[in-house]
């Protein structure tokens, strides 16, 4: 059989059975599109979660107080109420080789009143280093200064959301006054919007650390020390030296009884990645089932036409087609169907993934792997179940094929 005749017969056969061809293509499109869309959404979500952690800074170590090891891990969650970290601890950490920034902070809740507007917010006592370490930028005024800290100055820097809550959208609150308990705070700066992340700096009020000790927490103890590490690759080493320094300062020899804990952002990123990876695997599992169902659909379409096609094969053999001509024609038909279905499926999957990811607020990530997997499996099923029964029918004697029920 000539190649041109083969193409002509294939196209004629497919177009003269539009419903059959259409349904087969539909099965392939659904199978491929669902897998691609699912994986695109899964990987998009994973990427956006990891991105928000990266934005918070993945070279951070956070030291927080902890109730020592004697009560076991369960007690550690109450660490915030434990008083073990001091300003001196923080200063000693600043001298370590791998540490580039140290931001001690003391945190509390406070009722802020400005012009009769009330807000119950998180108030955090910080040093100037906090802005750099936490990646905060001031849009108006300035951040807490060294001098403010030394002088127990009653000044405040507002997160962007908090500034709007207290003073409205249009106003520049710098220079305004806020009352909180027996403090009268002067607004010296407003922060740039940070967006959703792990911290909620947007709705926090920042005051000098010394001021917080005096008016908010009433003690000289810190609620956390955040450190930046110069080299992200050496987080573990930095963590070890921080731990050693603090154990020594606190006179504790057994790390299991440490009265503080260190959180490594890189570790956290890893944990979150593994969680989102599980989520992606779950979506991939659902996609795999879709692929399976799509595959069954393709198989059914191919197999339900076997009776009719077997008779056609018998007829073609009876009028002089040899087995190879039959095989070539059916292979060409299967390839054409899976090719059309594959292209449409990839396009549809991309489109669905894109639209769905937009609705979910994440960006779709189409990977070549998912495209190859989905298209490959569907093409394989389509070609096998289109070609194999035809090949078997071609091996029958013409009369058996013609009589096939």
């Amino acid at each position: 059989m000539r190649f041109a005749d083969l193409i002509s017969e294939t196209l004629h056969s497919l177009t003269s059975n539009k419903v059959r061809s259409g349904l087969t293509i539909l099965g392939i499109v659904v199978g491929i599109a669902s897998v691609i869309a699912m994986i695109a959404i899964g990987q998009g979500s994973q990427a956006s979660i990891e991105q928000s952690i990266q934005a918070a800074g993945s070279n951070l170590l956070t030291v927080s107080p902890s109730a020592g090891g004697q009560s076991g891990p369960g007690a550690r969650s109450f660490g915030a109420s434990v008083q073990s970290l001091t300003r001196e601890d923080a200063e000693s950490l600043a001298g370590l080789a791998l540490v580039s920034g140290v931001a001690p902070s003391a945190q509390g809740q406070a009722q802020l009143v400005a012009d009769g507007t009330n807000a119950n917010v998180q108030i955090v006592g910080v040093t100037p280093a906090y802005a750099t370490v936490s990646g905060l930028t001031v849009v108006s005024g300035s951040f807490i200064s060294e001098r403010d800290d030394v002088a127990n100055a009653q000044v405040v820097v507002l997160g962007s959301t908090l500034a709007v809550d207290l003073f409205g959208e249009a106003a520049d609150p710098v220079g305004e006054h806020i009352r909180s308990g027996n403090m009268l705070l002067t607004v010296v700066g407003v922060l740039e919007e940070k967006g959703a992340g792990l911290s909620n700096a947007d709705s926090t009020a920042f005051i000098p650390l010394s001021t917080a000790f005096r008016y908010v927490t009433g003690s000289q103890y810190l609620s956390s020390i955040v450190l930046t590490v110069t080299d992200e690759e050496q987080m573990d080493m930095a963590e070890a030296s921080v731990e050693a320094t603090l154990l020594q300062r606190h006179g504790i020899s057994d790390p299991d009884y440490a009265d503080f804990q260190i959180q490594n952002m890189a570790d956290m990123l890893e944990t979150v990645s593994s969680v989102t990876g599980t989520f992606t695997a779950l979506l991939a599992g659902i996609a795999g089932i879709s692929l399976f169902v799509g595959g069954i659909g393709i198989m059914n379409m191919m197999l339900t036409t076997v009776t009719e096609r077997t008779r056609e094969i018998g007829l073609r053999k009876a009028i002089g087609a040899d087995s190879s001509a039959i095989s070539a024609q059916f292979l060409a038909e299967s390839i054409t169907l899976t090719l059309i279905g594959g292209v449409l499926g990839v396009v549809a999957g991309w489109g669905i993934g894109f639209v769905a990811a937009n609705l979910l607020g994440v960006s779709a990530v189409i990977t070549i792997d998912s495209v190859l997997l989905a298209a490959g499996v569907c093409a394989f099923i389509g070609v096998v179940f289109g070609y194999y029964p035809a090949r078997r029918a071609a091996a029958l004697s013409p009369i058996d094929a013609l009589r096939y029920q």
Binding site: M1, S16, N17, K317, A318, I319, G320, S323, P398, I399
Partner: protein
């Protein structure tokens, strides 16, 4: 007259046993048949007599369990798939009782189809299909119709045209009038008589005596054996 012509069909002791289906009754129990060039023969017999089985073996659509079959001098048993396909498209033209056209394809496409598997150059195919369609007397207005839009008689003409298009030395027809009314059947028989007069060897199956009577030779088959093989002379209606 035909005795000096070379044999197209030379079948010896054909036995066909269908496996499975419980009963071990052979469909053919030793059939020998010679048909020479230019003959016009009818195979008659009640249903279940094995006549269709014989026809399928003669047309190389099925293989005998035992016995040898030489078609135009070649032993069919020695041919491979490719050579058998060649025999089916070049030596034999087969006409089915149920026509077996591709329903969604046009008349022209159906008639051209056997040539797709040959070396006939594309430019020549349509001319040969036209010649075949004209020789079976199908009006040209129908040639572009899909075959499932035709009447039974028209479909059988298309099927006959298809069997002729590769210019076979033997035309086999399995109850070609079985699905047609009497008048249409008569017209189809007239067509076969004319094709035979033009020199084609034709063997057909029928169980209708008046159809058999229009051929030159009647082979009666019963329970898988040939019980009578005689030339028809004029009109010997009915009686065995």
């Amino acid at each position: 007259m035909a005795d000096i012509a070379p044999a197209v069909i030379d079948a010896r002791d054909l036995v066909k046993v269908y496996d499975g289906a419980g009963a071990e009754t052979p469909a053919l129990r030793g059939v020998s048949l010679t048909v020479r060039e230019g003959e016009f023969a009818a195979v008659m017999g009640p249903s279940g007599s094995g006549k269709s089985t014989l026809m399928h073996i003669l047309g190389c659509l099925d293989t005998p369990t035992q016995g040898t079959y030489r078609l135009a001098g070649r032993n069919v048993a020695t041919l491979d798939d490719h050579e058998l396909a060649q025999v089916r498209r070049e030596t034999v033209g087969f006409v089915f009782q149920a026509f077996n056209l591709l329903p969604r394809s046009t008349v022209m496409r159906n008639v051209v189809m056997p040539m797709l598997y040959t070396q006939v150059p594309p430019g020549e195919r349509e001319a040969r299909a036209v010649a075949a369609l004209e020789s079976v007397g199908l009006e040209s207005a129908l040639w572009t119709h899909r075959s499932n839009e035709l009447s039974g008689g028209q479909m059988q003409r298309v099927a006959i045209a298809r069997s002729l298009v590769n210019n076979p030395s033997l035309v086999l027809a399995d109850e070609p009038t079985g699905n047609l009314d009497t008048a249409t059947g008569d017209a189809v028989m007239e067509l076969f008589a004319r094709l035979n007069a033009e020199g084609r060897t034709i063997v057909l199956i029928t169980h209708e005596p008046h159809i058999a009577a229009r051929t030159k030779r009647v082979v009666r088959i019963q329970d898988g054996l040939i019980v009578e093989d005689a030339a028809t002379v004029g009109h010997q209606d009915g009686d065995a």
